[in-house]
């Protein structure tokens, strides 16, 4: 029966935030659970189970994915960035700084996914218009802020990154 078939396991090795991590996992294990429970990286949140809310967004080889709809085994041999990997030693990433400065977060639950989606946007388009930002983050739901300050935060981070480069 289905329940028993699910219990097949496979070894998985991924580079998470620059560190290689290996584990033997059930093939059905979701990447979101692998990160949160197997690796203890609880900054990645789960909000909907159906790929709508984006709270579980992480970067897979630099591309934002909703980790509740990726199996851990699909990440084998690839690079993952979570919110924990965004924070440089002794400081903040410009996007983190900008979210706080512009009051782009309230309860904080959507924030890690929202920031990672924004980082991916800025890597591709260093000077996005508000409309481009709204489109880019439209797969990430925020229930608290009304998005306006998130848009400002992404613009703020874009300006900081431009200055630094």
């Amino acid at each position: 029966m289905a329940v028993q078939e699910a219990l097949v396991t496979r070894p998985v090795t991924v580079s998470v935030n620059g560190t290689e991590r290996s584990a033997e996992v059930e093939t059905r294990l979701l990447l979101a659970h692998f990160l949160r429970e197997t690796l203890g990286l609880t900054g990645t949140h789960i909000g909907c189970d159906t790929t709508h809310c984006g709270a579980c967004t992480v970067l897979l080889d630099g591309v934002p994915v909703k980790s509740c709809t990726v199996l851990a085994v699909q990440a084998d041999g690839r690079e993952i960035t979570t919110v924990e990997g965004l924070t440089p030693a002794g400081g903040l990433h410009p996007i983190q700084e900008a979210f706080s400065a512009e009051h782009g977060l309230q309860c904080g639950f959507c924030t890690p996914g929202m920031m990672l989606t924004s980082v991916a946007l800025l890597a591709e388009n260093p000077d996005p218009t508000p409309e481009q930002i709204r489109w880019a983050i439209s797969g990430n739901i925020c229930r608290c802020t009304g998005y306006q300050n998130i848009v400002k935060a992404v613009q703020h981070a874009a300006a900081t990154l431009k200055e630094a480069s």
């Binding site: 949160r36 609880t42 900054g43 949140h45 909000g47 924070t87 400065a101 309230q106 309860c107």
Partner: protein, 782 residues
């Protein structure tokens, strides 16, 4: 010496203290908590809305490796836990024993070594249901031959729950008899759901040695929940510790006690191991506190264009259990604020509640106890009246506003409005909007065949419950509390009975202490959510944290300042009367250099105390507000409707709010923008509905639509500030203003675009297909 600016008291948009952990992914939400030996619980929910349970066979589930226990209602009944009291003095099944009464009702719980195994085991539980006809509307529920939903309740012979009235029926009848015009509106405020991004959940940890139950849970009201747990479980309160960690949004959804919390706690007690239960999104949408579901009929009586009477009749769909979160004596919450911002001499409100085979709840989705429904009713009705009377909607409001000199104003339904200047807020909104110019643009656009709509809504909220004589939940008076401990170094810890879910208490409350006691806000650590560690409070909902706990924080600061004055007099060898206070220090009148800072005083409180005074600089204040506060605002929305599809686009939103004195304007504006977005979602897309068999449509985010950044409009905000005269800081509360006020503004805008063709109402959510239907009916569709 610290300046008022440096201590960051009232009026400063300082960055939030709580941000640091959230932007690093270091928040501590309930699902992040892992305890040694922890088990995982998943709930089996009913696939049908109404059925008798003939049998539940759990044997196959129990046999699955990794399953530790399967809990059914029968097992709970043996411990007298199969039913629990609700916040509205009804009962609710924890796990169904006799019947299921709504789709999604909790039937059984599997406790296993992992959540995956627990979910597997749910599929192995065999339940034999005998289907019963489902009742899905309150109208159906109150028919003579309707199936009886609550046959568990002795003496309950129909699906009628309550009848509730407010106001003066006779005076209202007289006003209507003498009226020269009556305008009516039927409208339905559909069922929607707060849907915080984090679902509900808990980790229950009953220590087998001490018997103490520690429950980490998503709770907006941890102290109330501890008391309810004590009542349900028959345990003394010191044996129960509720810890509400970081909460990923609440909006009212995390006020009630849900079966999952109770079952997890019972399971931990029975198994001697911690048990984690994390609800999935479908469980959240189909079983936890929904909002609204009010069928409303309103009538306004006029003499000329002056409102003389208001009559409202409502039918409330409460679902299978009456578990509304509201003060006990108000069965329809504070709906009787429905006279709104207008000087209406007579009003009468009648509400009847009915059981249906739908999820229970009736929580306020970011609203103070049904104030949203009231605000929507009056603002839609006034807009309708403007078209019927042929008066500009703004003029009609201006003419009927309660005037500034009428405050304090007693409304026809018994509220004492504390303060306000409605015309000033309205004028500011019109100015920001360019109202007159827009009306001209609208007329010109109509000539070209384009449909622009300008919607206005002017709301008055009633928030900050109590006073305790009037407002109590389960007998608990609606006070709130603050305990302040100033340490010898002059740093402080402030402990509160409320619990932030994103509102920024750690910052705002620090600013209150900074303002009142002169301790820089960075030096104040705010603690909330742990019942072992904070004074009793009623919790955070109904926009009550700043009006009630904020007042408590100000009052305890003032009490400690009086003690500090005595210590400062001792240090400065002066009499108390000769000391002047300025933020952060006392100085001798006429000798500003002869001063003792609050830090000097704090150190002396532990090292050099004057004779006759107790050591320390600590205290607790319980604040029972003398009245509610009455925030208000003018919201205006401009839309354009696509005649080919019925889609409507928001072109502008101008929101003027008066929430009194603003402690942290940045946080206040954040609250308003969030509320304007949730209000937009409710007006445009959010809907929990049911088919005739009681199947919930809206059980995932695929069907329950939430606004994303793409649809959400830009907001233009402004403020007037009339302080509340009875609040120590002049603050009124703001968290819910925009959700309360804005749905009517969005809908009024859409109707305004169509009003010239005779369209008067489209019920929310105002989806493009409904608008297209309306366009087609009046010959405007393309």
């Amino acid at each position: 010496m610290a300046t008022a600016h440096e201590i960051r008291g009232l009026g400063h948009s300082v960055r939030r203290k709580e941000d640091d952990r959230f932007i690093r992914g270091k928040g501590n939400y309930v699902d992040d908590i892992v305890l040694p030996g922890m088990l995982h619980m998943e709930l089996l929910r009913s696939p049908v809305a109404h059925a008798r349970i003939n049998s539940i066979d759990t044997s196959r589930a129990e046999a699955l490796p990794g399953v530790v226990a399967v809990v059914t209602g029968e097992l709970l009944a043996a411990h007298n836990l199969a039913w629990m009291p609700t916040l509205s003095a009804d009962t609710q099944a924890v796990l169904a024993t006799d019947k299921v009464r709504f789709q999604g009702q909790e039937i059984a719980a599997v406790i296993a070594e992992t959540a995956y195994i627990a979910k597997d085991a749910l599929e192995l539980i065999d339940v034999d249901y005998e289907l019963l006809p489902a009742v899905t509307t309150p109208q159906q529920a109150l028919e003579e031959d309707a199936p009886l939903i609550r046959d568990d309740k002795e003496g309950q012979e129909s699906n009628h729950i309550y009848h509730w009235e407010a106001g003066d029926e006779e005076a209202t009848n007289r006003a209507f008899a003498e009226a020269d015009r009556v305008v009516a509106l039927d409208t339905f405020y559909p069922r929607c759901h707060p849907a915080p991004l984090e679902c509900c959940g808990c980790v229950a940890d009953v220590n087998p040695a001490t018997g103490k139950a520690t429950v980490y849970m998503t709770s907006q009201a941890p102290h109330v929940h501890r008391t309810l747990f004590a009542l349900v479980a028959g345990l003394p309160e010191h044996q129960i510790r509720i810890v509400s960690p970081d909460i990923g949004g609440g909006f009212g959804n995390k006020v009630p006690v849900y079966p999952g919390y109770v079952i997890a706690t019972a399971a931990s007690l029975l198994l001697g191991r911690p048990v984690k239960w994390i609800e999935d999104r479908t469980g959240n949408l189909i079983s936890t506190g929904f909002a609204r579901d009010y069928h409303m009929h309103g009538e306004l009586a006029f003499k000329g264009s002056k409102m003389t009477g208001l009559r409202v009749k409502m039918l409330s769909d409460n679902g299978a259990f009456f578990s509304d979160a509201q003060p006990t004596k108000f069965k329809a919450g504070l709906f009787h604020i429905v006279t709104g911002s207008y000087d209406i001499p007579a009003a009468h409100v009648v509400t009847d509640g009915a059981y249906t085979n739908k999820a229970p709840g009736g929580v306020a989705y970011r609203c103070s106890f049904r104030v949203t429904e009231a605000s929507y009713m009056i603002e839609r009705l006034v807009q309708t009246a403007a078209y019927e009377l042929g008066v500009d909607p703004v003029e009609l409001r201006m003419e009927n506003f309660i005037q500034p000199e009428q405050f304090p104003y007693e409304s026809a339904t018994g509220f004492l409005y504390d303060s306000g200047d409605y015309p000033a807020a309205m004028r500011l909104a019109l100015e920001r909007l360019g109202y007159d110019e827009l009306r001209k643009e609208q007329a010109a656009a109509r000539e070209e065949g384009r449909l622009l709509g300008i919607g206005v809504a002017f709301f008055t909220e009633v928030v900050g419950a109590g006073h305790g004589d009037e407002y109590a939940i389960a007998g608990l008076r609606m006070f709130d509390s603050a305990e302040l401990r100033v340490h010898p170094t002059g740093k402080a810890i402030l402990k509160l009975g409320v619990r932030s879910q994103g509102q920024g208490h750690e910052t705002t409350f620090g600013q209150i202490i900074a303002q009142e006691l002169g301790i820089p806000y960075e030096d104040v650590e705010v603690q909330e959510g742990d019942t072992d560690n904070t004074p009793y409070g009623l919790g955070t909902y109904a926009s009550r944290s700043t009006p009630v706990a904020g007042a408590a924080a100000a009052m305890i600061s003032r009490e400690l300042r009086e003690k500090a004055r005595k210590i400062a007099a001792h240090l400065l060898e002066a009499s108390e009367e000769d000391l002047e206070w300025e933020p952060g220090r006392f100085y001798v009148k006429g000798s500003p250099d002869k001063a003792a800072t609050i830090q000097d005083v704090a150190f002396a409180a532990y090292t050099n105390i004057p004779e006759g005074l107790q050591a320390g600089l600590e205290g607790v204040h319980y604040y029972d507000p003398p009245n509610m506060t009455f925030p208000y605002g003018a919201y205006s929305v401009v839309v354009e409707i696509d005649r080919g599809t019925g889609a409507w686009k928001v072109l502008r939103v101008v929101a003027v709010d008066d929430c009194g004195v603003r402690i942290n304007p940045m946080i206040v504006e954040g609250q308003i923008m969030g509320g304007l977005t949730e209000g937009f979602g409710i007006a445009a897309m959010e809907l929990i509905t049911f088919d005739d068999d009681g199947n919930c449509i809206g059980s995932t985010f695929m069907d329950y639509l939430l606004p994303t950044a793409w649809e959400t409009p830009e907001f233009e905000l402004d403020a007037t500030q009339v302080p509340s005269p009875h609040h120590p800081l002049g603050a009124k509360g703001v968290g819910e203003s925009a959700t309360v006020g804005s749905p009517a503004a969005y809908v009024n805008a859409v109707i305004d675009a169509l009003a010239h063709a005779g369209v008067r109402n489209i019920d929310m959510p105002v989806t493009s297909d409904k608008v297209w239907q309306a366009l087609a009916e009046v010959g405007l569709a393309e």
